[in-house]
Symmetry: C2
Subunit: 199 residues, 2 copies
């Protein structure tokens, strides 16, 4: 059996997993699920992930795992993409939890609404943009101590934050005021084995 990824091509959360798999050379099979019509989620994912979300993976031994952050950790731990030091490991998780709570619900959702013309109102979209810029401010601050990456060397924290930040313009965000983020986006895209979100 090969690893199976329940995937969505447009989803940044799924792209995190595809990017790590490309960097690590993990072979896997993609099964595309819609992020707009979710009517088949219970049928497809009910036995695999209580959260019914993509990405969900099924390991080569048949065990299922959900949540992009947990999948990244499982495959990257004990590789060069998760540091060995306990404090640096916690910093990686700090950024990954920050991304899921304070970044993704604004930047990814604004992009989702724009791409699929699903914004419930202009006010709701503006509120997502406000929250997104707060997250970008935090990310810019986090890159401010002269280090090239978020937690020491390039790690899954960078993968997790990169996924939606580098396509934030698709949700109407302007990154021109964020020079450290822009330079960091280029550093991530220069990693050996990198694949773009549309690959």
């Amino acid at each position: 059996m090969t690893v199976v990824l329940y995937d969505s091509a447009v989803s940044g959360n799924c792209y995190k997993v595809r990017l790590l798999f490309a960097l690590l050379g993990v072979e896997y099979e993609r099964r595309e699920l819609s992020v707009v019509d979710k009517s088949n989620r219970e049928e497809e994912l009910g036995d695999l992930n209580p959260g019914l979300r993509v990405p969900t993976v099924v390991l080569d031994d048949g065990r299922p795992l959900g949540e992009s952050g947990a999948i990244l950790w499982y495959f990257a731990d004990e590789t060069q993409f998760v540091p060995p030091d306990p404090f640096e490991r916690a910093k990686v998780l700090q950024w990954m939890f920050f991304e899921q709570y304070s970044h993704e619900p604004f930047i990814a959702v604004a992009r989702h609404w724009v791409l699929h013309d699903m914004a419930p109102s202009d006010e709701a979209l503006e509120e997502k943009r406000r929250g997104g810029y707060v997250a970008l401010d935090a990310l810019e601050r986090g890159l401010s101590d002269g280090r090239g990456f978020l937690a020491g060397e390039f790690s899954i924290a960078d993968i997790a934050l990169y996924a939606y930040t580098h396509v934030a313009h698709e949700g109407g965000f302007d990154l021109s005021g964020y020079p450290r983020i822009q330079a960091w986006i280029e550093r991530v895209a220069a990693q050996p084995g990198y694949v773009p979100i549309e690959a």
Copy 2:
């Protein structure tokens, strides 16, 4: 130096850390910040946590760490509250990421709005309740295979999910239709060293 916890007594995210510290016997100093008036967050947390959120801890060597999930992992790893097996570790993280993305933004926010009379509208509160029940359904499913806890033995996954689930009624949620959750709440509260949220 002792560990410092930038805390809020009412915050379930902070309670996760206080509960783990009580179970582990970690001594620490509490510094209370408001979760309603956040005007001093930049001043208090600007140098410590780019996300400007509580909980934030400062370790006994002066290094700061933010995000409840990252703090739990840092202090609990290599104790009985994080399993040694790589797949079970990932399952712990799966539940912790699920909590921050799919549970807390609904169940904790509904409670926050009710406790502080801050709901922007009845419709907004109802939407939080709908999302919260979806998360409770997932949690009930996650407890369905006869195991007592979310990822093998009692772990920080249970601490992370317990924090806001056991006070969900304060946000208007009715847990009477969730027998597995109710039994699990009692099992968590029976852990040696347990402290309640108001302690």
